[in-house]
């Protein structure tokens, strides 16, 4: 079955829409674009006019929020609760302080130094993560209260939620067949899959060519997410840093796994698990097994572990 594909850049990374029915690609793509525009306006951390930026600037007061932002915060709080705080949306200030304070597309180079610190010495600082329990979300009145000084970062769960919302919207717009939405390697599917399932190459970097070498899995339904410390890296105060923050230390994680991929019922659950596994470090495998989620973990030295019902890469079926 030939799949129809549309790709472009969105939310600071790549966006791909695939449909099993060629004539449904256009309405599906239009629906995904609408969702991504809404997501960007609601909870981009890098837009001064986003709703999230306004909320972060209003800490200490009860603020009404849109249904989309309320849903995104609800998803982030659920992820925090299910991971015992390993995936915590209150890392906003910590990740900004360690240097990730702009869209990565505006910084060039493999391990860039932030522009404002070039030519002068900068010490690495860490900001204590307040903890997700401090957030008060009232879904009935749709209001949020953040303690003073707390900044939310919905980047981890936010993109995965966007993929789930976009896939659902794309299928509704297509009206038939199946759709796959990939946002920077976070993948959500909806509807009837192609025969054999959706083919997904597992890589450390979502920019890797789909025709490149590596493990390929076929996913009939659900979502796939990969978290990796090998991308979005930068240098600050002489330290090489990455974007996955350990809420316990307020600094980038330093565990044994550099890349984790998880398959789950939704992209949000897959991303929650893959990010938490990186943060959990040595406890990651036991933690993933407790959820019965198929997972692939790459150690810092390249050793690969396959967990749960992850398919045996030595048996190619499709």
């Amino acid at each position: 079955m030939a799949l129809a594909v549309k790709s472009w850049t969105a939310l600071g990374s790549s966006a791909h829409v695939l449909t099993t029915l060629e004539d449904r690609l256009e309405p599906a793509t239009a629906a995904v674009r609408r969702v991504l525009l809404d997501v960007d306006a609601a909870y981009s951390r890098f837009r001064k006019d986003s709703e999230l930026t306004s909320l972060n600037a209003s800490a200490g007061r009860t603020i009404p929020v849109s249904p989309l932002l309320a849903t995104a915060i609800e998803a982030a709080l659920r992820a925090a609760r299910l991971t015992n705080g390993a995936v915590d949306p209150t890392i906003g200030r910590a990740i900004r302080v360690v240097g990730y304070d702009d869209d990565f597309s505006r910084i060039s180079g493999p391990h860039p130094t932030l522009a404002r610190e070039r030519g002068r010495e900068v010490k690495l600082r860490a900001e204590v993560v307040p903890g997700w329990q401090a957030i008060r979300l009232n879904q009935r009145s749709r209001t949020v209260w953040l303690p003073a000084g707390v900044e939310l970062d919905l980047g981890s769960t936010g993109k995965a939620l966007a993929a789930d919302l976009a896939a659902a919207a794309a299928l509704a717009a297509a009206g038939a067949g199946g759709v796959l939405v990939s946002l920077g390697g976070d993948i959500a599917t909806a509807g009837v899959p192609p025969i054999g399932g959706w083919r997904i190459l597992i890589a450390e970097d979502s920019q890797a060519s789909p025709s490149g070498d590596g493990d390929v899995i076929c996913v009939p339904a659900g979502g796939v997410a990969t978290s990796s410390t090998t991308v979005r890296r930068w240098s600050r105060g002489g330290e090489l840093l990455h974007h996955i923050i350990d809420p316990k230390t307020s600094l980038p994680t330093s565990g044994p796994f550099r890349t984790v991929t998880v398959v789950a019922a939704t992209c949000l659950d897959a991303n929650t698990a893959s990010t938490a596994a990186i943060v959990h470090g040595e406890a990651a495998i036991e933690w993933l097994c407790s959820w019965h989620l198929p997972a692939r973990l790459v150690e810092n030295d390249g050793t690969i572990h396959y967990i749960g019902q992850w398919p045996d890469p030595s048996s190619v079926a499709a």
């Binding site: 799949l3 594909v5 609408r34 809404d38 249904p67 849903t71 609800e74 998803a75 659920r78 609760r81 329990q133 401090a134 957030i135 008060r136 979300l137 879904q139 009935r140 749709r142 939620l161 919302l165 919207a169 990939s182 976070d186 993948i187 399932g197 083919r199 997904i200 190459l201 597992i202 890589a203 450390e204 970097d205 979502s206 920019q207 789909p210 025709s211 390929v216 076929c218 996913v219 009939p220 339904a221 979502g223 796939v224 990796s228 991308v231 979005r232 890349t259 398959v263 019922a265 939704t266 659950d269 959820w291 989620l293 198929p294 019902q309 398919p311 048996s315 190619v316 079926a317 499709a318």
Partner: protein, 107 residues
Amino acid sequence: MDSLTPTQRDRGLQRLRRLTFGATAGGLIALVGVGYAAAASYAGKASSTGATAATTTTTTGTTTATPAATTSPSAASSTTSSGGLQSATQAPTTGSSGSGTVTSGGS
């Protein structure tokens, strides 16, 4: 002081019973009324944990009540449910690269 006749004493006791009954009934009615007014005027404030747990039952109502949003989060009601992390309905299988392959990686 003149002593009361039995008839006068009975009338006095009946009047006292009526007053006691009336005061009790009035107090109960007032108690219910004040309680209702208090509950209606202050719905309570949930803690962060409580608010999160409550979203399972309120998400659908909230999203359907807000048609102004361009992006309806109703599709996310299952993804943001208060249940645990969910496995896919079917396990992945091994595949090979080909047409329509997409990459999952860090970003």
